[in-house]
């Protein structure tokens, strides 16, 4: 029997018992539908997180802090030593204090082989922003924005080397400040109000170079080095407060370094008493949680598919039983056991394909509609999040997986059919 004839016969046999096939296909449909949706959620959320990673920083950047002094918890207070000890900073994670970095530390980090440059993060606390003497709005600047890539809706990224003060405005500010659109805001000059340490108020002008979507992980406006320096100067009120300690520094490392090189560099910094982490390290935990949730959802879908697999086995066993005489006849007419096996396996695969293709199709249709509704309603607070992202490869993978499961389920009935003795089958009443 030719392969083409086998496939055609398998397809027509599948539709011989319509109700039974439909019910089996429905069972697979549920599994494939769920699996397609959970995969889409995983893909959608991952894509969103990836965009957020971009918002947090470039891939060639370390966030460097002093290593926390773990020994102090076991051995009691450490003796003060004027040469090595430094002031405490409050910029550590909640519940901990981190020792600050001094100018000497920055030099030492900068001298480490592999580090291209190191800059302390200076935090500035502006009071408000206003445009064209309109209503001022409360305002904050993301201290690490100089090294991040914003998720832009209009305009361009910040130019770190520029001498003019540049600002990337969150898109929520566009309308309140009096711009009709994000594009109109680009190029405008806004005033930022800031209070210095003596209580005097100053304003600093900055040019809006871009408008960004609000990010989940990094909030506030973006400012380039020039603007931060200008704001910091205004904030200090012209008094040199000798702030020579910083909580956090940002170091650019050699982009040519591979993963091993980065690990080695981290170890070098660690031995010098600094904790260096990349953006990926910081986001690793978030991604692990998301992957875990998607994994659990996928597991449920697979359980549904396993239940459906028993449905396929049952359907085909009944089919083999019903068609005992037909199988006997085909074998009497010279059809080999192998071909009979192939025929029934193909029927299983056809059932699997029907269920998975319909399941995936309906999932894509319903999911896209749901995704559109959610992003306008419930999830409108998370711009840029496409909760269900259907990737062709993952949909194809789901269909392939279901067909594989169907094939495996078909092996038992197909084997039974292939092994049938033609005479006994023909005698079967």
């Amino acid at each position: 029997m030719r392969t083409k004839d086998l496939v055609a016969t398998a397809i027509s046999n599948t539709f011989r018992s319509k109700l039974r096939t439909t019910l089996t296909v429905l069972a697979i449909f549920v599994g494939a539908f769920t699996l397609t949706l959970t995969n889409a959620v995983g893909a959608g959320v991952s894509q969103y997180v990836d965009a957020q990673v971009g918002a947090l920083g470039s891939p060639d950047v370390f966030i460097i802090t002093q290593a926390s002094d773990a020994a102090s918890t076991g051995d009691g207070p450490v003796k003060y030593d004027g040469t090595s000890s430094s002031v405490s900073s409050q910029q550590g994670p909640p519940g901990t204090t981190t020792k600050a970095l001094t100018a000497a530390d920055l030099t030492k980090i900068g001298d480490t082989a592999g580090i291209v440059s190191v800059d302390p993060i200076r935090s500035v606390q502006p009071d408000y922003v206003e445009y064209d003497s309109g209503t001022p709005y409360e305002f904050s600047i993301n201290a690490t924005s100089a090294v991040t890539t914003a998720d832009l809706t209009a305009g361009a990224q910040l130019d770190g080397g520029a001498s003019e003060a540049q600002l990337v405005l969150p898109d929520t500010y566009v309308t309140p400040l009096g711009f009709s659109s994000a594009d109109e805001a680009v190029g405008a000059s806004v005033s930022i109000g800031i209070t210095d340490i003596l209580g005097a108020k100053h304003t600093v002008n900055a040019k809006v170079v871009g408008v960004s979507l609000e990010s989940l992980l990094a909030s506030g406006a973006g400012a380039n080095d020039a603007l931060i320096a200008e704001l910091a100067d205004a904030q200090s009120g012209g008094i040199e407060t000798a702030v020579t300690s910083y909580g956090v520094a940002v170091a650019h490392f050699d982009t040519a370094l591979n993963a091993d090189g980065i690990t080695a560099l981290k170890a070098d910094l660690q031995s010098d008493g600094y904790t260096a982490s990349t953006i990926e390290d910081q986001l690793g935990a978030v991604q692990t949680v998301i992957n875990g949730i998607v994994g659990v959802l996928n597991a449920f879908a697979v359980i549904a598919l396993i239940a459906a697999a028993f449905g396929i086995i049952n359907t085909l066993l009944m089919s083999v039983q019903e068609r005992t005489r037909e199988i006997g006849l085909m074998k009497a007419m010279g059809m080999s056991g192998g071909k009979v096996y192939t025929l029934f396996s193909l029927e299983a695969i056809v059932i699997g394909f029907l269920g998975s293709a319909i399941g995936a199709g309906v999932a894509i249709g319903l999911g896209s509609a749901l995704s559109a509704v959610l992003s306008r309603g419930l999830l409108s607070g998370l711009p840029g999040l496409n909760i269900l992202l259907f990737e062709p490869t993952s949909v194809a993978f789901v269909i392939g997986l279901v067909m594989l499961i169907a094939f495996l389920s078909g092996t038992l009935p197909a084997q039974r059919a292939a092994k049938q003795n033609p005479i006994e089958s023909l005698r079967y009443e």
């Binding site: 030719r2 005489r325 037909e326 009497a332 010279g334 033609p422």
Partner: protein, 246 residues
């Protein structure tokens, strides 16, 4: 001499089951079937006549004894070769029609060609040819289930005929039919035997049908009781015992 026989069976024995439930269906049967003859295997139910036919048609293997088909020992043939032999050289007509329901008459008829791997166009051409020969061409598109008993058996004969076989094995071909339609089916079979030289092996308990064959092999309790030579040989109602017959 062997090659001139289509089928040459010597000392066939076959039993089913084991121990107390052991049943000896054949206890040593030797049969030769020449090309172009029509042979009736006659006996009551349980006599072993169907088992004999199954062995001759290579549907089953004997426990002991040898079987040669066209000069080749059936035991030496591979499974594949046996399948091909059954597919190309043999046609089968069973008492129950074994037609696939919900499939057209034509598709039922061309099943052996489909199994043989013949192309779609050629299949249809040969199928329609056979249906025309059996005056069923107008029913080609009908579902097999919509036909009458006689028509069904004609479709079955068409299916047995479509691969242009050398031998047609028929197991009670008229068992399910009334006398009139049965006679029509018989006529078709004997016409094929006469005009196309197709060897007929008919298993039956119907004496009248058996009488129309060139030769009758009577079988009882797994042994050949008598084998009557062709009646048209003048006065030659020769009685030959063969195999383990007493």
């Amino acid at each position: 001499m062997d090659s001139e026989w289509v089928i040459d069976a010597q000392g066939l024995e076959k039993s089913y089951g084991s121990g107390a439930s052991r049943f000896d269906a054949l206890k040593g049967v030797s049969v030769q079937i020449a090309p172009g003859e029509s042979v009736a295997i006659v006996g009551k139910s349980g006599s072993g006549k169907s088992t004999l036919m199954h062995l001759l048609a290579l549907l089953d293997e004997p426990d002991t004894g040898t079987l040669q088909v066209a000069g080749k020992d059936a035991k030496s043939l591979s499974k594949r070769a046996v399948n091909e032999l059954r597919n190309k050289e043999f046609g089968f007509v069973f008492q129950q029609f074994f037609l696939t329901p919900n499939v057209s008459v034509l598709d039922n008829v061309i099943l052996p060609l489909k199994i043989a791997g013949m192309g779609g166009k050629e299949r249809r051409r040969r199928g329609m040819e056979v249906l025309e020969q059996l005056e069923l061409a107008d029913k080609a598109g009908n579902k097999a289930t919509t036909l009458s008993g006689g028509q069904k058996q004609r479709v079955v004969i068409g299916r047995a005929l479509v691969n242009a076989p050398r031998v047609i094995f028929a197991d009670e071909p008229t068992g399910n039919l009334d006398t009139a339609t049965g006679a029509v089916v018989e006529d078709i079979l004997f016409e094929l035997n006469r005009n196309q030289g197709i060897t007929l092996v008919i298993v039956t308990h119907d004496e009248e049908l058996a009488a129309r064959c060139d030769r009758q092999i009577y079988i009882r309790d797994g042994l050949i009781v008598s084998s009557i030579m062709p009646t048209h040989h003048a006065g030659a109602h020769a009685l030959t015992t063969s195999g383990g017959a007493e």
